[in-house]
């Protein structure tokens, strides 16, 4: 099951994979959710949860690095829990990856529906996007990584748009510093989790990295980079909107783009929403890739077949998520699942693995 030497990626590309997977559709509207909890101190929780992610990432690397270098989560599960229980966990992860993909793709489609084409036929649009995803995922991990990087390159000019709201910014809105209780800030941290999800895919694509042990510093830097991007975005939003106002703005970042006013183009959000596809789709591709790869390893079926199957599942499930309420509920549910997986499961796995290796006295 070892990936072919030519399919591997350089370790420093992990730096791009991290933000490429973490920054997606969430950044368009995460401000409202965390500002509800922590008000002007929301930016602190962005930093705190970013740092926690750094620690969790370190745990992931520990989990992966203890065994032989070619192990991924699937093999680790099978090794630690035996074939049957291990595969049970693996199937849970397949579901989790599919869920990630569904939530991202459906939320993005909702943005398109709300902001560009209220009467668009979602099913058709979805089909086209899934075909696009298919054409990337069949290219393999290397191609998806390329998509992540080029997506970031294409999408990064949009971060410069933060300059425009600064003209209207009230930085005094950020005061008073630390006026919220620790509990409130931690609550906001919890809400922030959803936006950092995606780093745990390292558990699956780890064997695809050359000189894997050197990739950790790049991965950590990537997470820090994600955090900085979120940090700048939340600070600009807090300064631009009044806190009370922010509570009503669903897509705060997108609404920010409305004020971009260049001599040759106005109302930048239309371009922004379109270009943002290059930030969103790599997430979906990577998620679906991870799901199909795990499925292939568990069931021993060709990945191409699993891929088609998973895409069909997504197509059908998005069909049922047809209004804002359902999507919102699904989002909240997913946020919970994601929260438990990264804050609970990863540390538990970390500890369990140490115990098992201690007891066994040797590595697999």
């Amino acid at each position: 099951m070892k990936p072919n030497e030519t399919k591997l990626i350089s370790p420093f590309l992990v730096f791009f994979l991290m933000p490429g997977m973490q920054i997606g559709v969430g950044i368009l509207g995460f401000e409202r959710v965390i500002a509800k909890e922590a008000g002007q101190d929301a930016w602190i929780s962005v930093i705190i949860s970013g740092l926690i992610i750094n620690i969790l990432l370190w745990m992931c690397y520990k989990i992966l690095g203890r065994g032989p270098q070619t192990l991924d989560l699937i093999a680790i599960h099978q090794d630690l829990f035996g074939k049957w229980v291990g595969n049970g966990f693996n199937i849970l992860f397949i579901l989790y990856f599919i869920l990630i993909s569904i939530i991202i793709i459906r939320t993005y489609l909702e943005v398109i529906q709300v902001w560009m084409f209220p009467s668009v036929n979602v099913l058709m649009l979805l089909t086209i996007i899934l075909i696009l995803v298919y054409s990337y995922v069949v290219g393999g991990f290397r191609v998806i990584t390329g998509f992540c990087i080029i997506g970031l390159i294409i999408g990064s000019p949009l971060f410069l748009l933060n300059y425009f709201p600064l003209k209207h910014a009230h930085f005094e809105n950020l005061g008073p510093f630390l006026d919220h209780s620790f509990l409130e800030i931690m609550k906001a941290c919890k809400k922030m989790t959803l936006n950092y999800l995606g780093f745990e895919l390292i558990l699956i694509y780890y064997p695809f990295i050359k000189r894997r042990e050197h990739s950790q510093k790049w991965a950590q830097l990537g997470v820090v980079c994600t955090m900085l991007i979120y940090l700048v975005t939340i600070i600009v939003s807090l300064a631009y909107y009044h806190q009370e106002q922010l509570k009503d703005v669903i897509w705060a970042t997108l609404t920010l783009w409305k004020i971009v006013d260049l001599p040759f183009i106005e109302r930048f959000e239309y371009i922004g929403v379109s270009v943002w596809m290059f930030m969103v789709l790599p997430n979906v591709c990577l998620g679906i890739w991870a799901a199909s790869r795990t499925a292939k390893r568990v069931f021993g079926v060709r990945q191409r077949k699993m891929l088609v199957f998973i895409l069909l599942v997504i197509l059908v499930s998005c069909f049922f998520l047809d209004n804002r309420n359902k999507i919102d509920r699904f989002n909240t549910l997913f946020s919970q699942i994601g929260f438990y997986i990264i804050y609970l499961y990863i540390p538990l796995l970390f500890i369990w693995q140490s115990i098992v290796y201690k007891v066994r006295g040797h590595k697999p």
């Binding site: 002007q40 709300v114 902001w115 084409f117 209220p118 009467s119 668009v120 036929n121 058709m124 649009l125 089909t127 086209i128 075909i131 298919y134 054409s135 209207h168 005094e172 809105n173 950020l174 005061g175 008073p176 006026d179 909107y241 009044h242 806190q243 009370e244 106002q245 009503d248 609404t255 409305k258 004020i259 006013d261 106005e266 109302r267 959000e269």
Partner: protein, 359 residues
């Protein structure tokens, strides 16, 4: 496989073609200005100016459509009943509200625009002294340069006498606590549109008072840092002179906001002036005298203005918001009760720089 993929893609593209509604540029009427008036018995009258292509001509014509309904959305629908193409609001530049309507509260009539993703945020709101309808119709009679005259008018005055208020700023002030919005007040005068002043609001209600256009400069000095504008000072009977703002900075000093609030507003104004009768501008002593005189005249006006805000229990310069961002565990209730009686001191410091090219 690839070929099949291509076929499927193509098929999907073709099928979806009917899924998205098109808004072809010349097949929609683009609304430029819309005005709302109170039409009695819970109804409003919407008046909209749209640009219409004139066949064979380079420039665009403009037309007015009207409708009387219960809410904004319905008004647009009724207007559509009279037009060859649907009216779309994506490029709306100014929304005007009649005085009567504004007194009842604007929330219902702004909300649609806040929620509509088609509407931009560089959209100006304004109150019309009298009927919004009259002013909207005036747009047609004004000079036919490309662009919307009312918008240009507001934009031009924002640089000197009007606070920088667009839809976003209005919403910011309206939703925020400890801050009240202001909007430009326009009127029609002799076949022209004129800025009458700055309309004052308590939350979304126009309180019926306004700051006159001439004093708009003072309000602007009080509420933001800016660089243009001028103010006319009366020296003696029948003797006036204008000082030009070079740079004005305002700083708020709020102490003890949760118990006995005290506010000090420091305004630093760098100004120049061309001439004053009876004074020698080359003489430092005289310049000092002029500065003192101007500080006195303007400071008095500023204090009056702030007291007027307090008397009406409105907070257009966002002192409450300021206090909140500077105080831990800010008690908004307490502030709101205390606000009308807070001692507010305006401290104006004028510095004259550059005084013309002739001595």
């Amino acid at each position: 496989m690839k070929f099949h993929l291509l076929l499927i893609t193509l098929g999907c593209f073709l099928m979806t073609a009917c899924g998205v509604e098109k808004q072809i540029l010349e097949d929609v009427l683009i609304a430029e200005i819309v005005g709302y008036d109170d039409a009695g018995s819970n109804k409003i009258k919407g008046t909209v100016v749209v640009s219409v292509p004139q066949p064979g001509e380079e420039s665009l014509g403009k037309e007015v459509y009207e409708a009387i309904t219960h809410d904004v959305k319905a008004a647009r629908q009724q207007e559509n009943a009279k037009t060859p193409f649907p009216i779309v609001g994506g490029r709306l530049t100014v929304i005007l509200y009649g005085e009567e309507l504004a007194r009842k509260g604007l929330n219902d009539y702004v909300d649609t625009y806040r929620r509509d993703p088609m509407v931009g945020r560089d959209l100006y709101l304004a109150i019309v002294h009298g009927k919004a309808e009259d002013l909207v119709k005036m747009e047609l009679k004004l000079i036919k340069t490309p662009g919307v005259q009312v918008k240009e008018l507001i934009e031009q005055n924002i640089r000197t006498n009007l606070p920088d208020v667009d839809l976003h700023r209005y919403l910011y002030a309206c939703h925020g606590k400890g801050i009240d919005p202001v909007l430009p007040l326009l009127e029609t005068a002799e076949e022209r549109i004129r800025v009458k002043g700055i309309a004052l609001f308590k939350r979304d209600r126009y309180i019926g008072k306004y700051i006159p256009y001439e004093d708009g400069f003072l309000f602007k000095v009080l509420s933001e840092n800016f660089k243009l504008g001028s103010y006319e000072i009366k020296w003696k009977e029948n003797e006036y002179t204008e000082i030009n703002n070079v740079e004005s900075k305002v700083h708020y000093d709020i102490s003890n906001a949760n118990q006995n609030p005290k506010v000090r507003i420091e305004v630093n104004l760098k100004a120049n002036l061309l001439e004053v009768q009876g004074y020698d501008l080359g003489n430092p002593v005289d310049v000092k005298k002029i500065e003192a005189k101007a500080e006195h005249v303007m400071g008095e006006k500023l204090n009056e203005m702030v007291t007027m805000f307090q008397d009406n229990n409105i907070d257009p310069i966002a002192l409450g918001d300021m206090a909140k961002s500077k105080t831990r565990d800010f008690n908004l209730k307490h502030w709101e009760i205390a606000y009308p009686h807070i001692p507010i001191e305006v401290d104006l410091d004028i510095e004259m720089i550059q005084t013309g090219i002739a001595e």
